[in-house]
Subunit: 436 residues, 2 copies
């Protein structure tokens, strides 16, 4: 089975733990079987591979997420990178072309598109696997999975089936109705649209070529920036007369708010947090290394990272978006392929950054045009290359890197370094890659 | 008038803004006439000097507070430093000896001891000034100021006067009674003990010499560590038969909890804080440079510094002490005579510190035995002296200081530097002063 896992979004719905470069699927609040923290991405990927060890999973994502995905899933995972952000139609087209032209998947093979962020159990992916059989029967061009609603929610799209059979053709779609309409739809057997679609790869390639002028994956990649921003639902699903839906009645949670996250996170608190015994229904996540003390609070979420601190009534936290958009949103934390990047001090003219690196990993060889850097190794050992000169470094060693000077570091052991950037313009974009 | 301002305490009642070296009187949450933030110390000192520009104020304090006092009140303020912590009796004795033997105050002069932390208006210090006249009449050995109670509080000591006259001799003292007893005392005209005492300097010097074997201030200073820890109330007041009390009915608040502080702080929030419009009776203070967003909260205080983050129901915050004592209490922020010291990253084997320095100020010349340091100047200009060698420094300059190497820096303009300490033992005590 071919699967395209859509890892999108730069949402702020789980701010301050999610930001422009860390989508919610990278936040580690779940736990694996060994009790280690894992992210939604990790959880979903593991569930898929547990249920179907032969699944061919390709993650469709944007360039900003590639480092975090490698950090969490390793270097071997298959990733189809959008050169810039478009909507789900271009992203799925690009991934389909990648499967077909780069990975050699056949036109008759089934492909299933899944979002990366539902909170479900393994039974969900067993159901996803059955979509392949439905596709192979050829009774419809598109096969969807619909979730049996538990409440008349206004947050989801509804699929109205022709019948209440386990698999039915689809009559129509209704986007985010009001509560009364949702009740009516549910009474008629409607299902939540979980964003899971299956189809023959050939079906989608024909669609793609009929709608976009391109020869193959590389050509599509090259012209990606010229593509219209349009969703897969709008471009394909709503126009397709031959769609069937399979009902799914198991647990399904959309972890799109702190209120929902607090229901499913592994522990009531994570990090250096003390809740006094008068706290009721409080969840707290602390990524800072300073302690948080919560006393006498009820129905609240507290979340802290170097990007900000949220203190909110759980219900109210769902209304966070305009407030977060109004406050400063410099990215102060990012997962890199080599480890983590955390801004620990920001002043006009300087940034101080703590970089942690995993043993065996390296930063890319690059230089900056407008900023000088000072690296001080504070733990571990490694090797720096500065303008071609190699040097072994250990705690206390200082490397000064003037603007224009090419540099990189390779961690021999786990390594931590404090990087001080000096300059009047300190943009993440001032980074020019070069060859060793 | 001679005044001894007792600046004691290393309390955690306003944690995380107060810590072992920053007592609550140094926190800047009030505002002066020009709208600039000021601390309790600053406010009280200004009130005293406004009401009585000729007041001879000496601040009795411990060595850990000297830098912060100079930072806030300048270098010229008179300070009597306890070489180690004893209780209020030794502290007041030392300050009295300092006035007598170092500043030349006469035995017949009146001295008034005041705490540094009441929240009052200028009328309070006008009343304090009148204590001098009462002392000069010679009708009692000790003259106290008592506050008219507004509620039968269990938090304060009560003074029971002989009569309800504006000035009355004192019948007895009652320490922190239960509510019923407090009501009874109040019905009999009792007053709260505000910790304000006046006396002839000679009276106290006689007491001191009768109870402690010493010749003069310097001798007392030298043997200070051998003195018994004992409060002034216990050692002097409770044993003195000749005491009078003056009633004071103006505003008086003991800012000893976040609940009380939130009533008197100048603004509802300070620092980078957003309260959404559904917050009710919420105060928030943010000393971090990352944003805080508070949503849907009621009757709460949020306070954040590099020492920690408090999120508490206001009433409940009064019970903070055991929780704060149980969590890590490394000092991550301190006011220094030159500016501020803020730990921005702590790892095993390293500390990263942001030092801000005011123009014209300097660090003392010193060295460390067990740690190496790397200084990177990130703003401003200054001059470093390292093992006697002078160097002008500006942003981007790096100074590496191996253990044993003497060093200091003088800020020519306002200056900011990132200091990275490397070593297996990183104690504040590893600091050996030396002469230039």
């Amino acid at each position: 089975m071919n699967m395209i896992l859509l890892s999108g979004g730069s949402g702020k719905r789980l701010w301050p733990l999610s930001n422009d470069v860390r989508s919610k699927q990278f936040i580690r609040l779940f736990k694996d079987a060994d009790g280690n923290y894992e992210s939604m991405l990790h959880r979903v990927y593991n569930q898929i591979m547990t249920v179907n060890p032969d699944a061919n999973v390709t993650i469709a994502t944007s360039a900003t997420q590639v480092s975090a995905i490698h950090n969490q899933l390793g270097e071997d995972v298959s990733i189809c990178v959008e050169p810039c952000r478009r909507d789900t139609f271009p992203a799925i087209m690009l991934a389909a072309a990648y499967l077909h032209d780069e990975l050699g998947a056949g036109a008759d093979e089934a492909v299933t598109v899944c979002p990366v962020d539902p909170y479900v159990d393994n039974a969900y992916y067993e159901a996803v696997n059955r979509l392949e059989e439905l596709v192979n029967r050829g009774t419809a061009n598109l096969t969807l999975m619909g979730i049996e609603p538990t409440v008349p929610s206004k947050k989801y799209g509804y699929i109205i089936p022709e019948s209440r059979e386990p698999v039915s053709s689809v009559k129509e779609f209704k986007e985010k109705p009001d509560r009364e309409a949702a009740k009516l739809y549910i009474s008629r057997g409607a299902l939540w649209n979980a964003g899971v679609f299956s189809f023959r790869l050939g079906y989608l390639m024909e669609k793609a070529h009929s709608m976009i002028d391109f020869t193959d994956y590389r050509d599509l990649y090259a012209r990606y920036g010229t593509l219209e921003k349009i969703s897969f639902d709008y471009a394909v699903v709503e126009k397709e007369p031959s769609i069937q839906v399979m009902r799914y009645a198991g647990e399904w949670k959309d972890v799109g708010s702190w209120n929902m996250m607090s229901e499913v996170m592994a522990d009531r608190t994570k990090g250096n947090v003390t809740l006094d015994e008068t706290c009721v229904n409080v969840n707290a996540v602390n990524e800072l290394d300073i302690p948080i003390l919560v006393m006498g609070c009820k129905d609240m979420v507290v979340a802290a990272s170097t990007d900000g601190i949220l203190v909110a009534d759980k219900e109210r936290s769902g209304q966070m978006k305009p407030y977060v958009e109004a406050i400063r949103t410099d990215v102060h934390f990012a997962e890199k392929s080599y480890g983590t990047y955390t801004v620990i001090d920001a002043q006009p003219g300087s940034l101080t950054i703590k970089n942690t690196m995993k043993a065996g990993h390296r930063m890319s060889y690059h230089f900056h045009e407008l900023k000088d850097e000072v690296w001080t190794i504070v733990s571990g050992t490694g090797k720096t290359i500065v303008d071609g000169m190699e040097q072994t470094v250990r705690p206390g060693d200082v490397v000064t890197i003037a603007a224009g000077c090419r540099h990189m570091i390779i961690a021999e052991t786990d390594l931590s370094l404090i990087e001080i950037q000096i300059g009047t313009e300190l943009s993440l974009k001032d980074k020019i890659m070069c060859d060793l």
